[in-house]
Symmetry: C2
Subunit: 337 residues, 2 copies
C-alpha cells in the first residue's frame, strides 16, 4: 500500500500506508486513478498550509473499485467501479438551509481529511456513485471536475438557444463549455493560452484570446449586439472580474466559479442598470455527479482529449512539477494501483 503525502514546501512524498478496514457505513476502495486539481496545486504551493495538516494525503478526483464494505452498506457491493463525491457532511445547521455541500460543518475529503492519492482508501458509502461499463477508471477520475461543471451550468440555468461566455479555459472552464454546449447553448470561451485555445477550438467551441482581440467587442459582433445570457468567471483573475459585467445582456447571469481570495472591484452599477445576477457556485450536489456520469458515458465531454498525461503514483512529485512547467496542459492523472 502506497500513498502520496504532502509534506509542505512544494514536496509530495510517496510512502507506505495502511489499508483501513471500513467501519459501519464505510467502504474501502482500491483506488484506480486520482486527478490533480487546481486546489491540489494550491496545496502544493503552500497556499493552504493553514487549512491542510502536514503530512496529509491529498487528492479528491478519484475513481476506484469497491474492495470491502462495512456494516449496513447497501448502495454498493465488492467489485463495483465507482467515482467518489468527496464531501463528508457534519451536523446540519440552520445557516445551511438544507444545502450540506456548502454547509457550516462540511469536511472536504482530500483537504480537511485524508484524500485519494493512495492505493487503498476508506470513505463513507454515501460518497460513492457507480460507474457504468462504458466508463473507464481513467474517465471515472474525471467525474468530480465534470460534476463541478454540471453544477455551475445548472446554477447558471443555461437553456437551449442561449449564448454563454466562459472566461478561462482550464479543466473546469473547458468542461463548463462542453456541458453548456450540451444544453443547446452557443458557447464562446475566452482564454489567453494558445495551446488551450487550440484544444478548445478542436472540440467545437468558439474561442477568443482577449490579449489579441477585444473580448467585449468580439462578443458584441458575434451576437449582433445581443451579448451573453450567461457568463462563467473561471479565470480567478482581476481582468476576468473587470470584464465579466461588460458581457451579459439584460437580466444576464454571471456564475462565480473561480476562487478570488481578496475582494475585487466590481461594477455594481452594471448590476443595477441591466438587472444582472451574480450566482456563486461551489462544488456539487448528488444530482450533478449523476449528470456528469451520464454525460461522460455518452462521450460528449471528450474526456480522452482532456487528459494531458498519466503518471504512476511513484512519479507524483514529477507530475506536480510538470503541471507548473506547462500552463497549456489540462488534466493530469495519477495511477494509484
Amino acid at each position: 500500500m502506497k500513498a502520496a503525502f504532502y509534506k509542505g514546501n512544494k514536496t509530495i512524498e510517496v510512502g507506505p500506508s495502511d489499508a483501513i478496514s471500513p467501519g459501519p457505513g464505510e467502504v474501502r476502495l482500491d483506488v484506480g486513478f486520482c486527478g490533480i486539481c487546481g486546489t491540489d496545486l494550491h496545496i502544493f504551493h503552500g497556499h493552504m498550509d493553514k487549512r491542510v495538516s502536514i503530512p496529509q494525503i491529498i487528492g479528491h478526483e478519484v475513481s476506484g473499485t469497491v474492495a470491502e464494505v462495512g456494516e449496513g452498506v447497501d448502495n454498493v457491493a465488492v467489485g463495483d467501479r465507482v467515482a467518489v463525491r468527496p464531501l463528508k457532511f457534519g451536523e446540519p445547521a440552520a445557516f445551511d438551509k438544507g444545502f450540506p455541500h456548502v454547509g457550516k460543518n462540511l469536511k472536504f475529503i482530500g483537504i480537511d481529511l485524508p484524500g485519494g492519492m493512495q492505493s487503498s482508501w476508506t470513505v463513507p458509502a454515501y460518497t460513492l456513485h457507480k460507474l457504468p461499463d462504458a466508463l473507464s477508471l481513467e474517465h471515472g477520475a474525471m467525474i468530480e471536475p465534470a460534476a463541478v461543471a454540471c453544477h455551475d451550468v445548472r446554477l447558471g440555468e443555461v437553456a437551449a438557444g442561449e449564448t454563454c461566455v466562459v472566461i478561462g479555459g482550464g479543466p473546469i472552464g473547458l468542461l463548463i463549455a462542453l456541458v453548456a454546449k450540451q444544453k443547446g447553448a452557443r458557447v464562446i470561451l475566452s482564454e489567453i493560452n494558445e495551446q488551450r485555445l487550440e484544444l478548445t477550438k478542436s472540440l467545437g467551441i468558439e474561442v477568443i484570446n482577449p490579449t489579441k482581440e477585444n473580448l467585449v467587442e468580439r462578443v458584441a459582433a458575434l451576437t449582433d449586439g445581443a451579448m451573453a445570457d450567461c457568463v462563467f468567471e473561471v479565470s480567478g483573475s482581476a481582468p476576468g472580474v473587470e470584464v465579466m459585467t461588460e458581457l451579459p445582456n439584460v437580466r444576464g447571469r454571471i456564475v462565480m466559479v473561480a476562487i478570488h481570495p481578496q475582494p475585487r472591484p466590481v461594477n455594481l452599477f452594471k448590476f443595477f442598470w441591466s438587472e444582472l445576477r451574480l450566482i456563486g457556485a461551489r462544488l456539487y450536489e448528488e444530482q450533478d455527479f449523476e449528470e456528469a456520469i451520464s454525460l461522460a458515458a455518452s462521450g460528449v465531454l471528450h474526456l480522452d482529449r482532456l487528459i494531458t498525461r498519466v503518471d504512476p503514483i511513484d512519479e507524483v512529485q514529477a507530475a506536480f512539477e510538470a503541471i507548473d512547467a506547462n500552463p497549456g496542459g489540462i488534466k493530469y492523472l495519477i495511477k494509484c494501483n
Copy 2:
C-alpha cells in the same frame, strides 16, 4: 400653468409653462402631487448634468387627474385619478430580452424627458395606473417609490418566514422593509440616522444602528446564527457593500438597489463559499405598480407616516434646500395645483 425648471447649480426656478394637447395615445393630466426622489436631489446637486438638459422640468413621482385624452386612448377617461409609471419605451433590442424597463432604448420621463413637477403634464397613456377611491392624490404620488420597493422585494423572492436585512433606511429602504414584512418576512433595518431609526421602529420594524452595534454580530444573535435569507443594499455606501456579503446565510440573496457609480471591492470569495446570489434591481414593471397601489390602499405602507412635508410648487427651491438640511427626513411632496 406653472412648472419647476432645473436651471443647474442647485437652482430650481418656477416659471410659466404651456399645457400640451395630448397627441394620439397620450393623456394630459392635471398634476396632483410630485414627490422628490433621491435622483432629483442628484440632479439638483449637478451630478447628472451630463444626462439632464438645462433647463428641464424634473419630477417623476406623480399623481394626477386625467384632464384630456388623445386619440385612441381607452385605458383612462377624463376625471380618472392616476399614478404615472414614468417610463417611455423605445424600439425593443435583442439585448433587452423583453424587459423594456431596463432596455437599451428606455427614456426615463423626468430625467431624459420633461417631468411632472408642473401643473399640467402630457404623457403616454400606457404609463398610467388608476388609483382606487381609498387612495388620496398625496399617497398616489408615493406609488412610484412604493413600486420600486415592490420590484426589489419581488426580485429578491422574499417568502414568508424568511429573515431580511435592509441596509439603509431612507424612503426606499423603509418601503422595502414594509413590503417585505407584508410578505411575512422578519425584517431588520440598518440605518445610521436616529430620526429615521425612530420612525422605522414605530412602524414595527426591528432596527440596528451599525455605528453603535456590530451589525453582523447583532443579526447573528437575533437569528440564532441562521443569518439573513435576503439582504437589500440600499445605502449606496462602501460600508454597506462591505457588510452585505457577511449577512446572508447559504444561498442567501443580496438585492442591489442602490446606485454605486464607482466599482467597489466585493468579497467574491463569499459568493463562491456560501453560494450567495447578487440580484440587480432597477425601477419596476407594470405588476409592481399594481401591487404598490393595492398595498398602499390597504394601509400597510403607512404612507401618511412617511410624508415629512408638503410644499406648494412655488416653494420648490426651499423644499430641496430643506431636504439637504434634514438627513432624517423621508418623503417631501410638491403640490402642483
